[in-house]
């Protein structure tokens, strides 16, 4: 039951959900949710491969750094979203159409 194939299937499903959430939603924060899902599926793949194939802990180090970078990315991304909301009064993706203020 617990094998590389099943882990790949789960992270594949997570990846597909992440992509679908990013496309289906028009709210910027909801898109950031999708990004978190995709980062999780990538980290899960690393750990699965390091467990079933080469059996050392390099995969753990890689997904540890993925978690670190995902946290930083969420922090900065949400900071931008809040600043964008203060300027445009809405977090709708279509409002982010112009480059200037």
């Amino acid at each position: 039951m617990i094998s590389l194939g099943s882990y790949l299937a789960i992270s594949f499903a997570l990846f597909i959900c992440g992509v679908a959430v990013m496309i289906a939603r028009k709210n910027i924060i909801a898109i950031l949710l999708g990004i978190e899902l995709i980062l999780n599926s990538a980290a899960l793949n690393f750990v699965a491969y390091t467990k079933f194939v080469n059996n050392n802990i390099d995969g753990h180090i890689m997904s540890l750094f993925i978690i670190v970078i995902a946290a930083c990315e969420a922090a900065v991304g949400l900071g931008i979203v809040i600043r964008f909301f203060q300027l445009r009064e809405s977090v709708h993706v279509d409002d982010a159409a112009q480059l200037q203020n």
């Binding site: 670190v68 946290a71 922090a75 949400l78 909301f85």
Partner: protein, 139 residues
């Protein structure tokens, strides 16, 4: 399937199931025993007696976000530091404690610089500090 030592996680699963069982169970038992005659007055939000005005979901001051931001950066820092701290004693006994100490101090001092920056720019003080800006205008 080679059974390997996953028994360590059994209590965690059992405790979480117990917590949910206690939570939902007592609510269900309560639903049977409890009087339940909702009326409009009971159901409205508590406003010290007056009629609740507008939704509560008005947005808030950004200060809450800056606090959460500094929290998650220091949270990730401590998460990275835990494995290194756990092996510091072995490194010390082997004699390689010095280099690890230098790298740990470097790691902490860089993030301390971040905290000092936020401190100086006034992100940490909760009340808007007017003294700096008003002083310049009066002169």
């Amino acid at each position: 399937m080679s059974t390997y030592n996953l028994d360590v996680y059994m209590p965690i699963v059992i405790l979480i199931i117990l917590a949910l069982a206690i939570g939902l169970g007592s609510l269900l038992i309560g639903k049977l025993l409890r009087p339940s005659n909702p009326n409009k007055l009971k159901e409205s939000a508590y406003e010290c007696g007056e009629e609740p005005v507008g939704t509560a979901w008005a947005n808030f001051n950004v200060r809450f976000y800056v606090i959460a931001l500094i929290f998650i950066i220091f949270d990730v820092e401590s998460a990275l530091m835990f494995p290194v701290a756990a092996v510091f004693k072995q490194f010390n006994q082997v004699g390689a404690g010095g280099t690890l100490l230098v790298s740990v101090l470097l790691f902490i001092s860089i993030l301390l610089a971040g905290l000092v920056y936020c401190w100086k720019k006034g992100d940490l003080d909760w009340v808007k500090s007017f003294n700096t800006s008003t002083k310049l205008k009066d002169k």
